[in-house]
């Protein structure tokens, strides 16, 4: 879907200019031909594996398609149904939006805070970095989702801790008021990937800025506000765009923790989970395809807004 949206730091885009000149046009033409030939398998793959299915799904989104029978053209019916006669669709949209709005800022704040601590040049930094990165590798996995049920279950770890203070906690994953909260915590816990990127960003800030600021009498808080934060805005922006896209597409956590239902009482019915249920359980692939396209539009729209807004708060060193 939309994970092909790639935001690259500027340096990477404008590489060193190509040398060579006109001396060996024959040779360079031959090289170009070879290059295209080498690219051909990849391009064939792109056509067959990516672009083909994308176009097919666009077509299917205008059909009634059960997977088992031929698709029947129904025009915009699927799209109309989504917003007029499917309350579960609207509620899946709500659940996902809440999830994104709450978990992304929390996760980024957490990632930045830890990156700042790690950037102090602790001994054994590499080890800490790996440990904190681990949840990012595991976060979307089935094992962790199962572990989450153990931690936040009625007789889970959290309630055992609360019990030590005499508090009787509810079954967090089984309660419609709290279940989404546990998934948000799960998402925040996978802060490792943005943290690594923040760390790299922090390393890029010349220490001479801090030295100069210290000479001028700026305290750590002031330094953070006037140096670190502005110079880090491109990295924050990058992480923000990426995490919004990723969390809109979250699926596994809800699928495993709710046993594939989005329960209790639809409180964890993620957009993609509802899409999956429509397509593969209810054999309504046309509707599922239409949902996928709306999701693409939502994500593309949000990313676009993000880019527009970035003009006002993202500071690239080279733009004066």
């Amino acid at each position: 879907m939309a994970d092909s949206v790639a935001v690259k730091p500027r340096e990477a885009v404008t590489g060193p200019a190509r040398g060579g000149g006109h001396r060996s046009t024959k040779r360079s033409r031959r090289e170009a031909r070879a290059a295209y030939l080498f690219l051909a398998p990849w391009f064939a793959g792109l056509l067959v594996i990516t672009i083909g299915p994308i176009l097919a799904s666009l077509y299917l989104s205008f059909t009634d398609y059960s997977l088992l029978e031929e698709a029947k053209w129904v025009g915009f019916d699927n799209y109309v149904k989504m917003f007029t006669e499917d309350p579960r669709y609207i509620s899946s949209l709500k659940v996902t939006t809440i999830y994104v709005i709450v978990s992304v800022p929390l996760q980024l704040a957490f990632a930045l805070a830890l990156a700042l601590v790690l950037d102090r040049g602790l001994r054994g930094l590499a080890i800490y970095r790996s440990i904190f990165y681990l949840p990012s590798l595991l976060g979307g996995s089935v094992a962790i989702a199962i572990l989450w049920r153990k931690v936040f279950g009625a007789d889970g770890l959290v309630n055992a801790l609360l019990g030590a203070f005499g508090i009787q906690g509810p079954g967090w994953v089984g309660h419609p008021d709290y279940a989404l909260g546990t998934l948000i915590i799960l998402h925040v816990w996978t802060f490792g990937a943005p943290m690594i990127i923040f760390l790299a960003g922090l390393r890029q800030i010349p220490s001479s800025y801090y030295e100069a600021a210290a000479v001028d009498g700026a305290g750590p808080l002031r330094q953070f506000r006037s140096i670190t934060l502005p110079l880090l805005t491109p990295i924050i922006f990058f992480n923000l765009v990426l995490e919004i896209i990723k969390s809109f597409q979250s699926f596994t956590q809800s699928f495993i923790v709710s046993n594939g239902t989005g329960g209790p009482a639809d409180s964890t019915l993620f957009y993609t989970l509802y899409l999956y249920l429509n397509g593969f359980r209810d054999y309504d692939m046309g509707y599922a395809a239409a949902m996928a396209w709306v999701l693409l539009l939502i994500i593309a729209g949000l990313t676009g807004v993000n880019f527009l807004a970035s003009k006002y708060w993202v500071f690239y060193g080279d733009t004066k």
Binding site: R27, R30, E31, A34, L37, F38, A40, P41, A44, S66, L67, L68, E69, R149, G153, A154, D155, P170, G171, W172, V173, G174, H175, P176, S258, N259, G260, T261, G263, P264, A265, D266, L277, F280, R281, D282, Y283, D284, M285
Partner: protein, 427 residues
């Protein structure tokens, strides 16, 4: 060789390799290289089932050296999506295992072949066999049967100072009372029972009130029945006969090993009878089956047999004869039965059942005795539910949750459930 030529040949080689690997990937079956007829057989389940099935397949291949059976196995969670994708891609397996709730989806869309006369069904109970027949065509052959029943751990009941009920007479009120007394008698260490939102439970409950779950392409259940069904659940929570709503939902989403019975923290529960072995193993206790409680003054107990699984053949298979032969072997051959035992339900074929009875594990003998005991009271096995029934358990669970968490009144939930469920099976 100039560097340009080298590059050319390298690129060509790369493309060629890709083309070859792609060709290997799209091997669509039919005949194997050694002239054997290849028949693909899809099923789901545990590793243990896979081993068992592979063993049975070997037996079949030894008897039919010209047929090569290729098992296509996946876990239950991803089974139907893989199957639907294969069927959509004109790559359907020749022999397909299916559940009764999904049968119509495939049969009515022309994906399955009529097996009448191709597989010997003489030893299968006619009423059970009829569940695999739609519009006069025998699309599916049941592998074995289950009954939705009450599972009890007698030791835990007695430990909390209660007696096992007389299950030929007990009512829903007795059941609710007993559950709360067990919880109270064990100082809350053991819950009386566990909530179940299984459509099988509602089917039995409704039958006792003279209502069918499915009446053609509509639900035959009245709002009053739903309200009474939920009222029992609410009472159970209020009287602590079951855990609170949140914990009930949590354990409901887990496998039977994690159930209250499985972890020895509950004395009763409702399951399909084939779960008895798993509960027995998980709890390490001697658990038994009981008749489901009855409504006051009910003339029928409402319990019924349902096929555990069904074997079907793809309508697009190139080898219908070989596919049917394999199904026949799996259903009727005592040697296959001796390997599979009760893994796909208690064998549907009475001959196979008689042949393997001595080899069955103790819990299966118990189940068998139980089913024999209640056989005369059983209702007819319900016909295959309408299309869209695969979603029923989720819809029922969702509205049950709304009720148990007090987010909907039973009146409201009953109306909304009926509307949504009817829409789901009409579409």
């Amino acid at each position: 060789m100039s560097s340009g030529k080298k590059m050319w040949s390298a690129a060509l080689l790369a493309t060629a390799v890709l083309a070859v690997t792609a060709a290997c990937g799209s091997d669509s079956g039919g005949e194997s290289a050694d002239g054997k007829v290849k028949v693909r057989f899809s099923y789901w389940g545990s590793d243990a089932r896979q081993k068992m099935t592979e063993e049975a397949i070997k037996k079949f291949e030894a008897k039919n050296p010209n047929i090569d059976i290729e098992g296509e196995f996946s876990d239950f969670g991803s089974y139907y999506e893989t199957l639907a994708t294969k069927v959509a891609g004109n790559d359907a397996p020749d022999v397909i295992t299916i559940e009764i709730r999904g049968l119509r989806e495939y049969a009515e869309r022309g994906a399955l072949a009529d097996l009448a006369g191709k597989v010997n069904t003489a030893d299968i109970d006619a009423k059970v066999l009829a569940t695999g027949s739609l519009d006069g065509k025998q699309y599916a052959i049941p592998t074995g049967v289950n009954a939705f029943s009450l599972v009890v751990n007698p030791a835990l009941v007695e430990k909390s100072g209660q007696k096992l009920p007389d299950d030929t007479k007990w009512t829903w009120q007795d059941y609710v009372d007993l559950a709360s007394k067990i919880t109270a008698g064990s100082d809350g260490k053991v819950f009386g029972t566990q909530q179940s939102f299984n459509p099988g439970y509602l089917e039995i409950f409704a039958a006792q009130r003279g209502e069918k779950f499915y009446n053609g392409n509509k639900l035959g259940i009245t709002p009053d029945t739903l309200k009474a069904w939920w009222a029992n659940m609410q009472t159970l929570i209020k009287t602590k006969g079951t855990p609170d709503a949140a914990k009930s939902v949590e354990i409901g989403a887990q496998s039977v090993d994690q159930s209250l019975l499985g972890t020895n923290t509950g004395a009763m529960g409702m399951w399909w009878s084939n779960q008895l072995g798993a509960i027995n193993k998980a709890s390490g206790q001697d658990v038994s089956l009981l008749r489901m409680p009855k409504a006051e003054g009910a003339t029928t107990g409402g319990m019924f047999l349902q096929p555990a699984m069904l074997y079907t053949a793809s309508s697009k298979t190139e080898h219908p004869a070989e596919a049917a032969k394999f199904i026949d072997f799996m259903i009727n051959d005592p040697e296959a039965g001796a390997i599979i035992l009760s893994d796909r339900g208690l064998p549907a074929s009475s001959k196979v059942l008689a042949a393997v009875k001595d080899k069955l594990p103790e819990t299966d003998i118990k189940t068998l005795d139980f089913i024999d005991e209640v056989r005369s009271e059983l209702s007819d096995p319900p016909a295959a539910p309408p299309k869209g029934a695969s979603a029923m358990e989720d819809i029922l669970t969702r509205y049950s949750e709304e009720v148990l968490f007090g987010r909907m009144t039973t009146d409201d939930a009953a109306q909304k459930f009926l509307t949504e469920a009817n829409a789901s099976i009409a579409g």
